[in-house]
Amino acid sequence: MDYNLKMVRNYFKIAWRILLKQKLYSSIKIGGFSLGIAACLLISLFIQDELSYDQHYPNKNRLYRVISEANKSGKITKGISFPAPMAKALKNDYPEIEQVGRFNPNELFGAGSAEVRRGDKRENFYEEKITYADQGMLDILQVPMVYGDPKKALAEPNTIVISKTKADKYFPNENPVGKTLILNNNEKKPYKIGGVMEDFPSTSHLDFDFLLTLTGVEFWPGEQGTWMASNYATYIMLRPGADAAALEKKFPLIIEKYVIPSLIEAGNVDVKDVAKQGKIVLQPITDIHLNSADIMEYGSNHQSDIRFVWLFGAIAAFILIIAGINFINLSTAKSANRAKEVGLRKVLGTYRSNLVQQFLAESILYSAISFAVGLLLAWLLLPFFNTLAAKSLVFPWREWWLLPTMASAALVIGFLAGLYPSFYLSSFKPINVLKGNVSRGSKSAGTRSALVVFQFTASIILIVGTFIIYRQMNFILNKKIGFEKDQVLLIQGTHTLGDKVKTFKTELLRLPEVKSVSISDYLPIKGMKRNGNGFWKEGKHKEESATYGQMWRIDHDYIKTLGMKIVAGRDFSQEMATDSGAAIVNQALVKEMGLKNPIGARISNSWEHWTIVGVVEDFHFESLKENIRPMIMDLGHSPSVVAVKVKSADMPEFVQSVSSVWKSFAPDQAIRYTFLDQSYANMYADVQRMGRIFSSFAILAVIVACLGLFALSAFMVEQRSKEISIRLVLGASGYSIFRLLTQNFLKLVLIALVIAAPVAWYLMQKWLEDYEYRITINLDVFLIAGILAVVIAILTISYQSVRAAFMKPVDGLRAE
């Protein structure tokens, strides 16, 4: 056999035996390293997924979403909604633009969600992901079609394009093109299927199952021509070679040409600033997923934030570096055990280069095992990570690059991590070693201390972050929000009952458990029906600027059912016929409009007038991130949600009785319900996810830090074993030795606390500033996190310190 090969085999053989001999150290070394690798791998998958959004469109480099930027006294708000004629104007006025398309996913116009059934069947199914779209949208995105002609699938009025998944659901094993779907039992307006498209990939910022055509649609007379209402997301495709930046510079013309004349026509006097305050820009479609955090969108679930990618990437790099340094520390910590072997080998004539090779082989062996374990660990943890990051990542076992990448990474990292230990260990001088004067590593512990401080700083920041997020969460869930969210059942999709919804309400009231019932789509939960209106004191249209706010259609029992509080005036009453022209407003509206005597005051929007009969105490109807905005409520019919306030606590049984009532009204439609308190909690799912991510990383950081600390305490005990023995000979107690060894590390942890506290305070304060309603950060979080870190550190060091304290005094002197 070749000499070199024999040597290499010999290296690995020794490495393997040492691995088996030092079981504790080997498992910590491999365990810590593979944990780091697993975390890195998962985060890489996450980042890869995040960066792959909207890369699948054939013309992705020419596709842009149009963005509006409004500058109101220095505060810039960005939006994606444009007036209906915007798209056509862009195409007509700018030759650089090849094609345009529009979406309107707004609930207000019947998109968003609906009860859906086949034209030839009775049974309704609740569906979401419904939007209005242009044929132009299909053209510029080049949405791949399973059935139908992509060129004209949405070209005709009343056509619909559905996803493959939904085609399989409603029309299994058939080509549904030309068949009809009925939405919300509206048989007067059936939709003809123009095509079946492939599902949008999970890495698309757009995610729809039903595209309703905009051809021939006008939501109110003149709607398609007005520049005064903005409801359309507008996309463009540039001609090849066109320059987006140059095009943006020409957009102010749009405002001059269309917006300002419309404003003047509507009676606005002061229009000079409009051109200065508004701006139209283009956002590349590939930027949408990660760079839209500051853009207002309607209920997009697919929005992420480039900052998260950076944060995750930094954490991955951090974990890998720390794990690598731990690896090095553990290798050198056990150096004294290897010193004799090194000395002997040198006496027997080994070159230093052979020793370096030997130790590198050892390190690569450890690294390879760690990668194998890490890969397995990542695969096992992937489902958990998916929940954590709200992703549906798949482990890339089948990808050709996985094994080669992992193998070369194992080689490179094993080599790098082994470099220092191998040169350090191979530097032992044979005479010193054999005489017993083993150099036990440099005494300057500066870098190692810095490492501990660094690790614990990061851990404490994450611990503090976790505490604060959970406290804010708790605060949100227990805050007085102005309405009673408990014991309220929400039955959804009731608009399909048509006129019978009122009888349904009456029937429900017969149930003994029911306290009250209200019919209204407008509920104080984010994502429920919303609108926007400008209000004025009656007759002040031209003189005063509008107060913008919500206008909610409710019924007589709404305030009672949701447990809201009337602070002035009265609730709506069945006895008062005049209440059809009455309104209840919230305190925010009273304040913003400056109404001194709100009761009896007259207000109006552009087409309706009300007399205020009551003021309701401010209640939160958006997330606590936002201020409570003005709103008025009047009597009206908005029948898609029925809210039921319940007396009894036995909810399952009650839901049963409600279901049977429902069944007698809508035998072809499954009942769909939720509880108000659950919906409320769901609004803060992102906070909960943030909390879970933080606690997971905190735990990971603490584990990694502890492994490092463990290695270091082992190193230190080894380095100081002679000193410890001398002290024991001179009569030191076990406790004094324990204290001696522990206090140094505690100092480091305390330094970490001092560094971490202001950093954590600053970062979490920034996070909390997203919330209009938030907790204040108390000192006790730092105290608790500090105590936690100290306790964890002491426990980690204890193993080594206690061992040292119970050492026989002669043990450390034997080498002499």
Binding site: K722, E723, S725, I726, R727, L728, V729, L730, G731, A732, S733, G734, S736, F806, K808, P809, V810, L813, E816
Partner: protein, 229 residues
């Protein structure tokens, strides 16, 4: 002062059993100066470690100041040790990170002596050992002879009844070695019992009595009426 009978110490590995001490009996009276001699591996250091309460015997009886201590636990041994025994080692065993003053002070700290009293005592013993001028130096800055004088100073700081010296001159040249032997003799004449392990016949001549060990057993005891340098 010390009376051991049939003392045994066995070292075990998985397969081999080595008897380091095999039924050793001896007696040391207060005020004696005893040298233990013998070839490498004869059990000298093991015996010294047991006499110094650093290690426990596996069998036999060990009476120290009239108390049977063979079965004492480490805590009790440590207690007895720090009050009664001072150690001098071949390789000095000073703590590198501490100054001369701090090294000598250490036993007093473990005895719970107050700071001002410690300072007074340490300065006194450093004067006596003539290394007061080196009080703020670290061990590595001293010569071997000076280091051993610091070690002797540390051994006597708490006025022990017994001093155990393990090859105290092994790392020193003859001039420094003699100086250390003179020191031990002075201490002995002042009433301290001294037990010393040595290879050197020259050093052994300072002792009243020489105990020779071979393969873990006492083979000879010579008593000297008079010793000559």
């Amino acid at each position: 002062m010390i009376k051991i009978e049939n003392l045994e110490k066995v070292y075990r590995t998985e397969e081999v059993e080595t008897k380091a001490l095999n039924k050793v009996s001896l007696e040391v009276n207060e005020g004696e100066f005893v040298a233990i001699m013998g070839p490498s591996g004869c059990g000298k250091s093991t015996l010294l470690n047991i006499l110094g309460l650093l290690d426990e015997p596996d069998g036999g009886s060990f009476k120290f100041l009239g108390t049977e201590i063979a079965k004492f636990n480490e805590r009790n041994r440590a207690d007895l040790r720090k009050r009664n025994i001072g150690f001098v080692f071949q390789s000095f065993n000073l703590i590198d990170e501490l100054t001369v003053f701090e090294n000598v002070e250490l036993p007093l700290i473990y005895l719970g002596v107050g700071a001002s009293e410690r300072k007074e005592k340490v300065e006194k013993v450093l004067e006596k050992m003539q290394i007061m001028h080196r009080r703020n130096h670290f061990p590595q800055q001293l010569s071997g002879g000076q280091q051993q004088r610091v070690a002797v100073a540390r051994a006597v700081i708490n006025n022990p009844k017994l001093i155990l010296a393990d090859e105290p001159t092994g790392n020193l040249d003859s001039a420094n070695g003699n100086e250390v032997m003179e020191l031990l003799t002075e201490l002995n004449e002042a009433g301290t019992t001294v037990i010393m392990v040595t290879h050197s016949e020259h050093d052994a001549r300072y002792a009243h009595r020489v105990i020779r060990l071979l393969d873990g057993e006492v083979v000879m005891e010579n008593v000297r009426e008079q010793f000559t340098v």
